[in-house]
C-alpha cells in the first residue's frame, strides 16, 4: 500500500510526513513527528487525552485521519507555551496541583485553552461541561477546575476573581 504525503502546519511550523491512508492524526503526531505530548488513552474519542486543535476546532486526534491534516493547521500541547514561557493555564495547573500522574494533563490544557479563547469568563459549571470529554482518574477534577478558573481570571487580569479562587 502506498503512503500518502501530507503537508501541514503544526504549532505554526511547516511539517510533512508520509502516512498510511488509515493512520490517525494521533499516529502521525506521536510517531512521524515525535510529538508525544499528545497522549493515547483510548483510541476511540472517549478520554480526551489526545485533544488537539485543528483549524481552531477542538478534536480528538485519534478520530481524525492523518491525511485530513493536509493544508490545515494543528495545535498541540507542545505549542501552548510561548517558547520557554508557560501559558497561564499551564502555570495555574502547577500552582493548583491540577495534575497527579500528568498523563491526561496535555489534553486538559489544550481543551481548557480552547474554552478560554471562546469564553474568557466561564462559570464553574461551564468549565465542568466543557471538560466533560476529558477523563482524569487521579484528581477528582476539583483542582483542575480551580486551575482553569484561576487561569481565566489571570487572563482577564481580574485580580479580585483570582484571589477568590481558593488555593
Amino acid at each position: 500500500m502506498s503512503k500518502l504525503h501530507v503537508t501541514t502546519t503544526v504549532n505554526g511550523d511547516p511539517a510533512e510526513f508520509l502516512c498510511d491512508p488509515g493512520a490517525t492524526l494521533l499516529d502521525a503526531l506521536r510517531g512521524n513527528l515525535g510529538l508525544t505530548g499528545t497522549k493515547e488513552g483510548c483510541g476511540s474519542g472517549d478520554c480526551g487525552a489526545c485533544t488537539v486543535v485543528l483549524d481552531g476546532e477542538m478534536v480528538c486526534a485519534c478520530l481524525v485521519l492523518a491525511a485530513e491534516a493536509e493544508g490545515r493547521s494543528v495545535r498541540t500541547i507542545e505549542g501552548v507555551a510561548e517558547g520557554s514561557e508557560l501559558h497561564p493555564i499551564q502555570r495555574q495547573f502547577l500552582e493548583h496541583a491540577g495534575l497527579q500522574c500528568g498523563f491526561c494533563t496535555p489534553g486538559f490544557i489544550v481543551a481548557a485553552k480552547a474554552l478560554l479563547e471562546r469564553n474568557p469568563d466561564p462559570s464553574e459549571t461551564e468549565v465542568r461541561y466543557w471538560l466533560a470529554g476529558n477523563l482524569c482518574r487521579c484528581t477528582g477534577y476539583d483542582k483542575i477546575v480551580r486551575a482553569v478558573m484561576a487561569a481565566a481570571a489571570e487572563l482577564r487580569q481580574d485580580t479580585a476573581a483570582l484571589k477568590g479562587v481558593p488555593a
Binding site: 498510511d20 506521536r30 510529538l35 508525544t36 505530548g37 499528545t38 497522549k39 493515547e40 488513552g41 483510548c42 483510541g43 476511540s44 472517549d46 478520554c47 487525552a49 498541540t76 500541547i77 507542545e78 501552548v80 507555551a81 508557560l86 499551564q90 502555570r91 495547573f93 502547577l94 500552582e95 493548583h96 496541583a97 495534575l99 497527579q100 500522574c101 500528568g102 498523563f103 491526561c104 494533563t105 496535555p106 490544557i109 464553574e124 459549571t125 468549565v127 465542568r128 461541561y129 471538560l131 466533560a132 470529554g133 476529558n134 477523563l135 482524569c136 482518574r137 487521579c138 484528581t139 477528582g140 477534577y141 476539583d142 483542582k143 483542575i144 477546575v145 480551580r146 488555593a167
Partner: protein, 760 residues
C-alpha cells in the same frame, strides 16, 4: 487542622513540611515533554503485538505460527511454549501474593485460555501494521470449554473448573469448593450470643460489580535482551524493582541481568503492581535481537489487566438500643478472576477494623472465574465489605432513631484497642475524623427537598516495607536525592520537602531523581500507601547521614570534635574554641569536600516498620431524580487522618481522587459480561468513569494525628479515601429515596426500579 490535645506530642514547627510547592517534574508534565510508558523509543525498535483469546475458556490444542513467521518484516513470534517452567512457590506480587508460574501463565496462556483477552501469542515486526497482519496469520486450534463469569455460578456444583486439582487455601478439605481459591476468616468472641442479645439486628445481602482501576495510560514497555543475558526494560509501572523481580522469576534469570528504567507513570491505583507485557517483550527481543515495544489498547487494558473483584456479601449486624454494636456475622465472596491471589484477606481485615466489636465472625472467599485475574485497586478488598458494614450501621441508626455520626463515634476504635492484627492500636485518628466531620458545616447544612445525606467511615491499614534512598551533596551545596519509588502523584515533591526539612534547606535546593534498578538499592512498589512513609523515611535517614558527614567536615575545618558542632538553619555552628559562634553554610562545607575527605553522600536502606492505619469519614449529599433514576452528587466532603501532610495539595488530591473513584464505583462502573462470557463494555464510552460535569468540588479536611514512627508523622493517604464512598453514596441515596440500596452500581435503571418497587 491539628487534632485537639495531640499537637504537644509532636513537633509542628516545620519550615517546608506542610507547604505546597510546585512539583519538580511539573513543567515537563504541563508541556508534554514528560516521557510515559508509550512514549519511549529505542534505536532499532520493533513493534510488538499480542494475539488474544476470543473465548473465555478453551483448551489450546495447537498453535500454528508458521505463516506469521514467514511474513516479510516479522522478526519474532512467541507463544506459551517459549516460557520456561516457572516456580509455583509463593512470592510477593506488588501488594498481593501469588506465584511465578501463574503469573507467567497470565502473561501468556499455557495449555488453556482462562478469559477473553488472555494472551496466546505475540509477534515483533518492523512495523505495527505488519505485526498485526502477522497475528491474523496465526492459527489457534481451540477446544471450547464451558465458562463461568458469575460469582454464585462459579461455586455451584458442576460449575466449569478453571484449575483442576487446585486446593482451597485456608480450608478444611470438606469445606473446599472447586473454584474457591482461598478462604480467609476472622473469629473472635461469641457473635451468635451477641446478636441474640442485641436490640436490633439487620440481616442483608450486598452485591458489587467488578470495576477497573481505569488509569488513563495503557500499559506499555520496551525490552531489549541481548545474547550475553543482559537486558534492559523501559516501562511505566508502580515499581520498576517489581518489574525486575517478577520478570526475572518468570524467565528464570538473575535479577542483576535486568536493568529497568522507570518511565513516567500515567496512573496505576494498584493496577500497575504486576507484569503483563514485560516478560513477553523480553522473549520477543531475545529472538529478534532488537528492542521490542509492546503497548496495550484500551480494550486490552479492560479485558486483560486486573480489575478489582465484584462481591456478594451476607451480613448480620446487631446493636443495642443505645447504638453500641453487638455482634457481626459476615460471609462474603470476591471473584479473583482467572488465578488465585485475591482480596478476601483485606476484606476480612478491614470490614469492622474501625469499630470496637468484640464479637465477630467474618469469612471471605476468593473465587475463580473466567474473567481477568484481579489486581490491587486502591485499598484492595476494603471498599466492598465496608460498603456492607457501613450500610448496616446506617440502617441500624435509622431503626434505633440515632444520629448515624454519633452512633459511629460511640463505637469507634481508639488508641489501645485491639488492632487489625491483634496488637493494640497506636496513635489512630478515627475519633478525630468523626469529630471533624461533626464540626464541618456540611454535616449540619440544610438539605433541599429530594436530597439525602449519607455518611460512612472506613480504614486502610497502610504499609511500610523496604526502601532505599541516597542523598548526595554537590560541591556547590545543592543536594540530590536519589530513590527508587515511581512518582505517581507528586512524590518527588514530598521527598524534596522531607530532605529540605531535614537539612534546613529551601525546597528548590533539593533535586530528586527516581533511579533505575541498577543505580540504587531496592524499593518495594509505590502501593499500600507506603511511599511517603517508607521511602520518605529512607530519604530522611539518608539526609541525616549526609548531615552527620557535613557536621564532621565542619568540625575538621574548625579543628574541633564533631559533637562541638551543631546543625541549625541549614548551617553548621561551632560551639567551642577559637571558632565559637562561627557558622559554615552547607555550600561552604561542600566546597571544601575535596580536601576534607572526598564526596559527601549517604545512603539508607531500611525496612520501615511502625506504619499506622489511616481512617476516613465521608459525607455525601445526593439528589435523586425519581423519574429517571439518575443520582446527582450535590455536595461531598472527605475527612481523613493523614498523620501529617507533607505536601498539602497532593494530600488533598489523594482524598479527592479516591473519593471520585469511589463515587464511580458506587454510581456508574461495572464490568458487563454477556452470556458468551465476553465483556460487553471494554471501552470508556460504555464503562463510564466519573467526568467533570458529574461532580461538585470535593471538600477535604486533613486531620493530623501524627505517626510517631515517622520523623514528620506520616501515615500514608492514598488508599483510605476509596473505602467510605460506596456506603456514603448508597446511604445518601437510601435516605433521599427511603429505599435501602444494596447493589452497586446505582445506575439509573436500578435506582428507578428500586424506587418504583417501593412505591408499589
Amino acid at each position: 487542622m491539628n487534632a485537639p490535645g495531640r499537637q504537644d506530642t509532636f513537633r509542628s514547627d516545620f519550615r517546608v513540611v506542610g507547604t505546597s510547592p510546585v512539583r519538580p517534574d511539573g513543567i515537563d508534565k504541563v508541556t508534554g515533554k514528560a516521557l510515559y510508558g508509550p512514549d519511549f523509543v529505542a534505536p532499532g525498535m520493533l513493534a510488538g503485538a499480542i494475539l488474544r483469546s476470543p473465548h473465555p475458556h478453551a483448551r489450546i490444542r495447537a498453535i500454528d505460527t508458521r505463516a506469521a513467521e514467514a511474513l516479510a518484516g516479522v522478526k519474532a513470534v512467541v507463544t506459551g511454549r517459549d516460557f520456561p517452567q516457572a516456580s509455583a512457590d509463593e512470592i510477593a506480587i506488588g501488594e498481593a501474593e501469588g506465584n511465578a508460574a501463574d503469573l507467567a501463565h497470565n502473561c501468556m496462556a499455557q495449555g488453556k485460555v482462562l478469559y477473553e483477552g488472555h494472551a496466546v501469542a505475540a509477534v515483533a515486526a518492523t512495523t505495527r501494521e505488519i505485526a498485526e497482519a502477522a497475528l491474523r496469520l496465526i492459527v489457534v486450534d481451540y477446544e471450547l470449554l464451558p465458562h463461568v463469569t458469575g460469582l454464585e455460578e462459579a461455586l455451584l456444583p458442576g460449575a466449569p473448573v478453571l484449575h483442576e486439582g487446585l486446593l482451597t487455601k485456608g480450608c478444611k478439605p470438606a469445606e473446599a469448593k472447586p473454584n474457591a481459591a482461598a478462604r480467609q476468616a476472622l473469629n473472635r468472641g461469641d457473635p451468635a450470643a451477641a446478636l441474640a442479645g442485641a436490640a436490633k439486628v439487620v440481616s442483608r445481602r450486598f452485591v458489587t460489580a467488578p470495576v477497573h482501576q481505569g488509569y488513563i495510560e495503557p500499559h506499555a514497555c520496551v525490552a531489549l535482551w541481548n545474547t550475553d543475558g543482559q537486558a534492559q526494560i523501559w516501562a511505566s509501572s508502580q515499581g520498576h524493582f517489581m518489574i525486575r523481580e517478577l520478570t526475572a522469576a518468570i524467565l528464570q534469570i538473575p535479577q542483576a541481568n535486568i536493568r529497568v528504567t522507570p518511565l513516567e507513570i500515567g496512573g496505576g491505583f494498584g493496577g500497575k503492581t504486576k507484569v503483563y507485557l514485560e516478560p513477553v517483550a523480553m522473549l520477543l527481543s531475545r529472538k529478534a535481537g532488537r528492542p521490542v515495544r509492546l503497548t496495550m489498547s484500551r480494550g486490552e487494558v479492560f479485558r486483560a489487566t486486573g480489575p478489582a473483584p465484584g462481591s456478594i456479601i451476607d451480613i448480620r449486624l446487631g446493636a443495642q438500643a443505645d447504638g453500641t454494636l453487638a455482634g457481626v456475622e459476615m460471609e462474603f465472596w470476591y471473584n479473583c478472576g482467572a488465578f488465585p491471589g485475591g482480596d478476601a484477606l483485606y476484606g476480612v481485615t478491614m470490614a469492622v477494623g474501625h469499630y470496637r466489636l468484640a464479637d465477630a465472625d467474618i469469612t471471605g472467599w476468593d473465587v475463580l472465574s473466567n474473567m481477568p485475574s484481579t489486581a490491587a485497586y486502591r485499598a484492595p478488598g476494603a471498599p466492598q465489605t465496608t460498603f456492607a458494614v457501613e450500610s448496616c450501621i446506617d440502617e441500624l441508626a435509622q431503626q434505633l432513631g440515632l444520629d448515624p455520626l454519633e452512633m459511629r463515634l460511640k463505637n469507634a476504635v481508639r488508641q489501645g484497642d485491639p488492632g487489625l492484627f491483634g496488637l493494640p492500636h497506636g496513635n489512630v485518628g478515627y475519633i478525630e475524623c468523626l469529630e471533624a466531620a461533626k464540626a464541618h458545616p456540611h454535616w449540619t447544612a440544610p438539605l433541599k427537598p429530594g436530597e439525602g445525606r449519607g455518611i460512612a467511615g472506613g480504614l486502610w491499614m497502610n504499609y511500610g516495607g523496604p526502601s532505599t534512598a541516597q542523598v548526595s551533596v554537590a560541591d556547590d551545596g545543592s543536594v540530590l536525592v536519589t530513590e527508587g519509588s515511581p512518582d505517581i502523584g507528586g512524590s518527588r515533591a514530598s521527598m524534596a520537602i522531607m530532605a529540605a526539612e531535614t537539612l534546613g534547606l529551601p525546597y528548590d535546593k533539593v533535586r530528586v531523581t527516581i533511579a533505575d534498578t541498577s543505580s540504587i538499592g531496592y524499593s518495594m512498589v509505590t502501593g499500600g500507601s507506603r511511599t511517603t512513609f517508607a521511602t520518605g523515611r529512607a530519604v530522611i535517614a539518608a539526609a541525616e547521614g549526609a548531615l552527620a558527614e557535613l557536621v564532621k567536615r565542619a568540625a575538621l575545618i574548625w579543628g574541633v570534635e564533631a559533637d562541638e558542632v551543631a546543625w541549625q538553619d541549614g548551617m553548621a555552628r561551632c560551639s567551642t574554641g577559637d571558632h565559637a559562634g562561627e557558622t559554615l553554610t552547607l555550600a561552604a562545607i561542600a566546597a571544601q569536600a575535596g580536601v576534607t575527605g572526598g564526596p559527601i553522600s549517604a545512603e539508607a536502606s531500611l525496612n520501615a516498620q511502625g506504619w499506622l492505619p489511616g481512617f476516613a469519614v465521608h459525607i455525601c449529599d445526593t439528589a435523586v431524580d425519581t423519574e429517571t433514576g439518575h443520582v446527582a452528587i450535590t455536595r461531598y466532603t472527605a475527612v481523613q487522618d493523614v498523620g501529617r501532610a507533607i505536601h498539602r495539595d497532593y494530600v488533598e488530591g489523594q482524598l479527592q481522587g479516591g473519593a471520585t473513584q469511589g463515587i464511580g464505583w458506587a454510581l456508574n462502573e461495572a464490568y458487563l459480561w454477556n452470556a458468551a462470557g465476553l465483556m460487553d463494555n471494554a471501552g470508556f464510552l460504555d464503562y463510564r468513569v466519573p467526568v467533570a460535569s458529574d461532580l461538585p468540588m470535593i471538600d477535604t479536611v486533613l486531620v493530623e494525628v501524627p505517626n510517631p514512627h515517622h520523623p514528620y508523622g506520616v501515615k500514608g493517604v492514598g488508599e483510605a479515601p476509596i473505602v467510605p464512598p460506596l456506603a456514603a453514596v448508597a446511604n445518601s441515596v437510601s435516605r433521599a429515596t427511603g429505599v435501602r440500596m444494596q447493589q452497586l452500581p446505582l445506575a439509573p435503571d436500578r435506582v428507578f426500579a428500586a424506587v418504583n418497587a417501593a412505591r408499589g
